[in-house]
Subunit: 149 residues, 2 copies
DNA sequence: CGTATGTCAGCTGTACTGACATGT
DNA sequence: CACATGTCAGTACAGCTGACATAC
């Protein structure tokens, strides 16, 4: 390592390039999957979060996913129109609306998880060893740390 | 595990979820960086490929990046307007046009690599250990294999 | 002729910003 | 009042499809 802020190791350059390529390709590939399930990646993300952490406001969801509240509102709106989530006014704060999974939304999450309709899950299961999956999980934790920095 | 094609290990489910979240976040974060350099992620991808593999037609580039040729044409057009690539008609085939890095494009790639203007390279350098970077590289190779499958 | 290459036009998904209404 | 929450409108980017021209 060097004190020079310009100095970069070969592994950093290589890793960055690999990440960029993989991210672009994975995103497109995942999009195909979601398309075929009549749901988008962002919407799926919101469903998973609501299922894991329980009801939240649009602002909370936006903060958690690190997007603007206007962007999150669009995703939530789409999910609401599909009947997968419901919004209830917060009695304690007239500005807030709590977003929660509807009965149908709960079902959707459960079914998707059980049958693993998701392409990526299937691929990780069928084309990787247990050790390789652990490597992926470790790398994602690292990258998430970087993205949050 | 099981012969049932529905059966999925916990690590596969977990890894898939982690990948999805990380991909979404990283993509946004990378986009910010590219914005500040007046170049987009897709364009950067094309430059890197031309630099690595030499001149190619729009169709070749599209196939390599796994996008439609119409999509790739848009990226190439933008790069051409910035003077980073040049197009020369293929003398042997009147339909084809070879895309190659211009002098300015070569410079651009070199400078970016040397000074590591890219946010991700910087982060991988400053916030990770060498071993962690090797983990990331290994995981990206795995994921790229999946995306191509 | 059919196929390959490339262009143009229009659509979608996902994010962004700015302006605004409303409630605390 | 400032601040938080949410909506609406407009923009950008990167993919897509369909229709078309041209060259092999």
């Amino acid at each position: 390592m060097s004190a020079n802020s310009q100095a970069v190791s070969a592994s950093a350059v290589r890793a960055a390039e690999d990440v960029r390529v993989a991210v672009t390709r994975l995103r497109r590939r995942m999009k195909e999957t979601y398309d075929s399930q009549q749901i988008t990646a962002s919407q799926s993300s919101v469903l998973a979060r609501l299922n894991r952490d329980g009801p939240a406001s649009v602002g909370d969801l936006a903060a958690a996913e690190r997007v603007r509240h206007q962007s999150m509102a669009a995703s939530v709106k789409a999910l609401e129109e599909r009947g997968l989530v419901v919004r209830t006014p917060d009695p304690a704060d007239g500005r807030r609306q709590l977003v929660s999974l509807s009965e149908q939304g709960e079902q959707f999450v459960l079914v998707r998880r059980r049958v693993s309709g998701e392409w990526l899950t299937r691929a990780l299961q069928d084309l990787c060893t247990e050790e390789e999956r652990r490597t992926v999980i470790a790398a994602m934790a690292l990258l998430d740390r970087l993205a949050r920095s």
